[in-house]
């Protein structure tokens, strides 16, 4: 599929050019590329937030037409409802399903505990740190049990320590629930650490430059220091670097 961005002023911009990607069931795929390459746009198209105009996106053989609870999303800036407590945020999606009140609340509390926020059920987002907000947002998304988890640079707004902690947590959650994950990032190390497959995207107009298979034993606590891992980071980084330079030039032009 392709996508043309039409700004209110100025001429249309081709954001995505002939992107074709098949993501397997329960696979963890990262979309990696320089800023402005359209990786977030691609994610929003899958989410159904932006209408697909050229081409098609199918999730389990059903063409995407608008957002739905089969595709959960986690945003970089958390997007929690600030007027709701953590518990109320997690309950929001569950209230849209036919579920007994009691069961709903139990399920919400379960997911809050799963992401390590037990004790903060009645806190408002403004009272939480960035990492805790993102935990709450992940709990809210996982609670409705989406088939596909879309993540838009979910750890991009966190400090380095929290980010690395959250990456480990995400892997733990993913091993438990085994959802299909499409993960947008511009962090090479993060992509190599988390994904099974990385779709390296070109500078705008974005297309998929290369698909890289990453097969590491994620259980290995020393993984990030093994030569194989570091070599992979180097390899992927080389792929991205050329695109980052191109993106930078076109910005300045």
């Amino acid at each position: 599929m392709s996508h043309t961005y039409k700004p209110a002023r100025g001429r249309p911009v081709l954001a995505l050019d002939n992107v074709s990607l098949a993501v397997g069931d329960r696979e963890f795929v990262s979309l990696l590329g320089p800023s402005g390459c359209g990786k977030s746009t691609l994610l929003y198209l899958v989410g159904g937030f932006i209408p697909v105009e050229q081409g098609a996106i199918r999730v389990e053989d059903k063409a995407v037409a608008g957002p739905g609870p089969d595709r959960g999303i986690v945003f970089q800036h958390f997007a929690l409802f600030p007027w709701k407590t953590v518990l109320q945020n997690v309950l929001y999606g569950l209230e849209k399903q036919s579920m007994e009140r009691q069961a709903r609340e139990e399920r919400a509390r379960g997911f809050i505990e799963l992401v390590g926020l037990a004790g903060f059920e009645d806190s408002y987002p403004n009272q939480l740190s960035g990492g805790m907000k993102q935990r709450a947002a992940i709990a809210r998304t996982l609670a409705v049990d989406p088939r596909v988890l879309l993540m838009d640079e979910p750890f991009g707004a966190l400090d380095a320590q929290t980010r690395s902690l959250m990456q480990g947590e995400l892997l733990r959650l993913w091993r438990r629930s085994r959802k299909t994950v499409v993960f947008v990032t511009h962090d090479v190390h993060e992509a190599v650490f988390l994904s099974e497959r990385i779709a390296v995207m070109s500078a705008r107009p974005g297309h998929i430059k290369e698909l890289v298979h990453v097969a590491f034993d994620k259980e290995d606590p020393e993984l990030q220091r093994t030569p194989a891992f570091l070599e992979m980071v180097e390899h992927v980084w080389n792929l991205v670097r050329a695109e980052a330079i191109r993106a930078d030039r076109s910005h300045r032009a």
């Binding site: 989410g47 159904g48 937030f49 997007a79 409802f81 403004n126």
Partner: protein, 250 residues
């Protein structure tokens, strides 16, 4: 106890002002016809309250203000949010709102009397019309500022478009709507008293005019003070309510 002491300290300048009032009128610096001494005004207030005049007129004013403002809040919030959400509504309504917003609504007092007579209806509609646009505009701006990612989150959690309007757009707009209502509240007092001063047979504004015309200045000042205190109390109460509702922002 601490809160009382704090407030006493905070409003001490008002107390000083009251003393100054009493002092300059007692000393004869200002003639009693222009400004009666505070103690006489207070005595007059007690008389007015005792006779029941203050209450019956106060209630009449309160009903008018409450109904006009109440309708303005409900309809203003609704129109503002719909303007932000549906482009056709915005195209149709926005120019009208922008045109009438800066208009001094007190100019409508004679028009309302012409259309609706001397009774309650002309005051209620005047206050409604005057308070409608500040609420509408604040709701419009607040709803337009609703974050896209919140709307998207709600949709992907299974909410319909209509639900999103009610559950995400409206709460997002709430802080702005509430501060728009505060402006409208102050405006409602202005419109209430001025419309009652000009043409009415009841109400606090009517009392001020009638007592003044009759030369009962002690009593007139007593009613003016009542209106000032009511306005102040309404604003403080509203502010406290607003802080409670928006507690999640802290």
């Amino acid at each position: 106890m601490n809160a009382i002491a704090q407030n006493l300290q905070r409003y001490a300048p008002l107390l000083l002002l009251a003393f100054a009032w009493e002092a300059i009128t007692r000393a004869g610096i200002v003639p009693a016809a222009a400004l009666p001494p505070l103690d006489k005004v207070l005595t007059a207030w007690v008389d007015l309250a005792g006779s029941g005049d203050l209450w019956s007129n106060g209630i009449a004013s309160f009903m008018r203000g409450g109904m006009g403002l109440g309708m303005a809040i409900v309809l203003g919030a609704l129109i503002g949010v719909l303007m932000a959400w549906y482009k056709p509504v915005r195209i149709a309504v926005n120019p009208i709102v922008q045109f009438f917003y800066p208009m001094p609504k007190s100019a409508l007092i004679p028009v309302m009397v012409l259309w609706l007579g001397f009774g309650d209806a002309s005051k209620i509609v005047l206050i409604f019309v005057g308070c409608l646009l500040p609420v509408t505009l604040s709701a419009f701006n607040g709803a337009r500022g609703a974050e896209e990612v919140l709307l998207w989150s709600a949709r992907s959690l299974g909410a319909s478009r209509a639900r999103v309007l009610w559950e995400v757009v409206l709460p997002s707009a709430l802080p702005e709507i509430l501060s728009g209502i505060r402006t409208a509240l102050a405006l409602s007092f202005v419109l209430l008293v001025s419309s009652e001063l000009i043409v009415a047979r009841q109400g606090l504004g009517y009392m001020i005019g009638w007592l003044g015309d009759g030369g009962a200045y002690d009593a007139m000042f007593a009613v003016v003070m009542t209106v000032a205190l009511l306005g102040f109390a309404a604003d403080r109460l509203y502010l406290a309510m607003m802080q409670r509702v928006l507690a999640w922002r802290e």
